[in-house]
Every structure is written in structure tokens, then in C-alpha cells.
Symmetry: C2
């Protein structure tokens, strides 16, 4: 008899809460899926049949139980949960990266992953201490982007920059030397952002070219996922033709 | 003996949860503040003295009680709550606006208000049905921007456009005719965004010039406050000199 527990950072598995998210999980990381749980309130029909078909074809165990939903999901309308083994990512020296130094909020990290995939930044370095990318709240906020992103944790920025030094570094800071829309480069680069409450430590001013997103003095700063998304938008504008 | 209740949309008052937010409330909307509550764990010292001084000078009642904190605040580290009467806003025909059609998430609305103040958009039209701008979660996510923004609710977009028709309308839609970075205007304008889950109804395609923020097909859409913030950034870039 399986006993279900709340998710903890040290667990070997995490969860996709909801059917849309679970379909994304099965699309991009099927080989990591260990079990799929289906709630008794899940409607019969085509969607459920499709889910069952994918799981059966891949040899993934399906459990019909409501118990795990009480423990893992606070939201209504969550009738499917996917359980998956955590996977490791790899960063490429040829790709531009997002670097998050000490991010602390699970929802924010997920939102950045979603914007990242939207703007072609699916490689993310996270400097510890930091929030857990496999936290179900991160997974949910990412709308599944976490399943097709490459994410690597580092113990310090030095550890990261030793491996990926041959590129432009753009630390985002309020007292920076350049405004975002002035930045131009043809090299690969890393956009570097600090913690939600404290921003980047002052020493990042000497790491590459420091950048600010100009805004009025009526607010202290922009929210972290907003700043990161504006930066990604500006740096890739014109690559994606939306019309 | 006062009985404290959870906040409800129909209440005449709302609350600023936390000391930083309460200072913002006292700075911009002092005349609307009815009471300030202080928790027994609030540290003695300069900050508390300053708070008490402002309240006394303005004739605002201070209550030392923990009860209301159990009811209104789920977060730790909330030791001050400001209670304020809800206030009405006014929109100007000479100012550019943000128009939110049926926004449903309190945190998102607050985040948009924060970005708005950062980019000089402090006039907001909200088309019902819509989330409550005075919800304490909106107030908190706005980081106090709600206290210096002009916010007006309308029952329909037609009601809004009848009053404010003499301007550029830019509805943001996935199947739009223009990409954001191509938009140029010298007139006042309104940036129009739909609901988080459903976007704008199709008929907005014929309202002014429809706009898309180009992104890859790897995501369905950007998160609402992110899309709104990127749009505000692009439309005001160069006005705010950050360096």
C-alpha cells in the first residue's frame, strides 16, 4: 500500500499537476515518467482515452486513486498527476544563457522558464542557494517549459564563469553602465539576474557590461520574471516573426 | 469589541498587509486610512516610531492587536496592517491607458500596476467581469502602486471606447496584423489585453491596430503581466533614462 507524501526538494521524483501539464511531460520527457494518477472526477472521453493510450504504449503505470490529489494539489480542477524522475540538463557553449543568481520564488522561476522558451532561451544556469526547479509550483508556472529546457545548478558564479567565460556577460543591476536597448552584440551571451529581494551583489558591476532596464523612479525595481522577460524580448526582437 | 472578518469584494475598506506597503499607503492615500494595526511581534525602534508618528500626526487610530493578523495575513513577517477606505480613480483623455478586459488573477493585476508605474502608465481601465483591484493580494503584488494609480472599471469595452475613442487602440492578440516593435505613434494610445486564459475575443481584431509580441511556437502565449510589461517597455523606451 503506497503512502503518499508532500513533495520535498530531496525527493527523487516530482509531479506535474493537471492534465495539460502531464501531456507536456509525456511529450518531452516520457522516459522519465514513473506513474500517472487519475482522479475519480476525471471525465470519461477522448482526452482521457488519449492519456491512457499514451501511457499504455509507453508502459507507464496508471493508478486510479484520489488520495495523492489531496496531498499534492491545492487547486480545484486537477484530475491528473504525472510522477517523474528528476532529470539533468546540459548547457552549451554555443548557446546564450539565462543565469539566475539565488532565485528564491518557485512561481517566478517557472514564469522565467516559460518566457525563456518563448524567446528561444531554453538554457538556464542557476546559482545556489536557489529555489528548486522541480518544485511542483515551478513546474506548473512553467506551463511545461521545464520539460524542454536545459537547467544546470552551480555552487557559485565563479564555477559557472570558469566553464562559460568566453561570451558576453550582462548582469542586470539598477546602477548599471548601459541601458538595455543600447546593447548590441553578435556573440553568444548570458543575461544575469539577482535575487527577487536583493538583486545582484555589487561586485557584479565588474562582470562584463552591466545593464539596466530604464524605468521611472516611482518604483524601486521591476518584478524579476518581468525584468528577465523584457531583457529576452529586447535581445531577440526580430528573430521571431509573429505575423 | 471589534470582530474581524476576511476581506470580501463588497466591503467598503481593504488592507495593506505589511509595513512597507502601509508606509506607501500613508504616503499616497493618507486621507483614506481608517486604522493601523500593530502586531505584538513588531520590533520596537525607529521604524515603528516613524509609523506611530505619521499616524498620530494624521489622527489615524492605532490598534495593538494580533487578532486581525490571523484572519488577513497568511504570510509570516507581517506585523503591520493598514485599513483604508476604497477610493475612486479618474482617467484622462490626454494620457495613454492600459485596458484589461476581464482580468481574473489578483496577483497579475498587482504586478501590472507595478510595471505600469515603472513605465509611466498609471491609468488603467478594467472591463468587467474582472478581479477586484482592492483585493489585498492585488494591493500587495502592486507593491503599493495601486495607491498612486488611476483605476476605473467599465461594464463593457464599448462603454470605455465611447468615452475614450479619440486615440490609438492596440489590442494584443496572437493573430495580429502588426508586431510590437513595428508600432510607432505620436498620439495617445491604449494597450488592450485580454483574460489570462482566453485572451481577447476575436472581434477585437477590428478595434484599432492588433499587435502581437513575436515569440517562438514552443509556447502558447506569454503570461499576462509579462506581455503587458513588454508592451509598456517597448512603447516608452527612451523616455526613461536609466543611466
Amino acid at each position: 500500500m503506497a503512502a503518499y507524501k508532500r513533495y520535498r526538494k530531496e525527493d527523487k521524483v516530482s509531479y506535474s499537476l493537471g492534465i495539460t501539464l502531464t501531456f507536456e511531460l509525456l511529450k518531452f520527457k516520457k522516459e522519465y515518467v514513473t506513474r500517472v494518477f487519475i482522479h475519480s472526477d476525471m471525465k470519461q472521453g477522448e482526452t482521457l482515452e488519449r492519456l491512457v493510450h499514451i501511457c499504455e504504449a509507453a508502459g507507464i503505470e496508471i493508478l486510479y486513486t484520489d488520495k495523492i490529489f489531496h496531498i499534492l494539489s491545492q487547486k480545484e480542477n486537477c484530475y491528473v498527476i504525472g510522477e517523474f524522475r528528476k532529470f539533468a540538463g546540459t548547457l552549451s557553449k554555443e548557446a546564450s544563457h539565462i543565469v539566475l543568481v539565488n532565485p528564491s520564488n518557485a512561481g517566478n522561476l517557472g514564469t522565467i522558464l516559460r518566457s525563456g522558451l518563448g524567446f528561444g532561451f531554453n538554457q538556464l544556469a542557476i546559482i545556489r542557494p536557489a529555489v528548486d526547479v522541480f518544485d511542483p509550483r515551478t513546474v506548473r508556472a512553467s506551463m511545461g517549459s521545464v520539460f524542454s529546457s536545459e537547467i544546470v545548478y552551480f555552487d557559485s558564479f565563479e564555477e559557472y564563469s570558469t566553464q562559460f567565460g568566453d561570451r558576453e556577460f550582462y548582469p542586470f543591476m539598477l546602477n548599471a553602465t548601459s541601458a538595455l536597448h543600447q546593447i548590441q552584440t553578435k556573440r553568444v551571451f548570458s543575461l544575469i539576474f539577482g535575487n527577487e529581494a536583493t538583486g545582484l551583489p555589487a561586485e557584479f558591476a565588474s562582470v562584463g557590461t552591466s545593464v539596466v532596464i530604464p524605468h521611472s523612479d516611482r518604483i524601486d525595481s521591476l518584478n524579476l520574471p518581468i525584468a528577465a522577460s523584457i531583457a529576452m524580448y529586447e535581445m531577440t526582437k526580430g528573430y521571431f516573426i509573429g505575423i
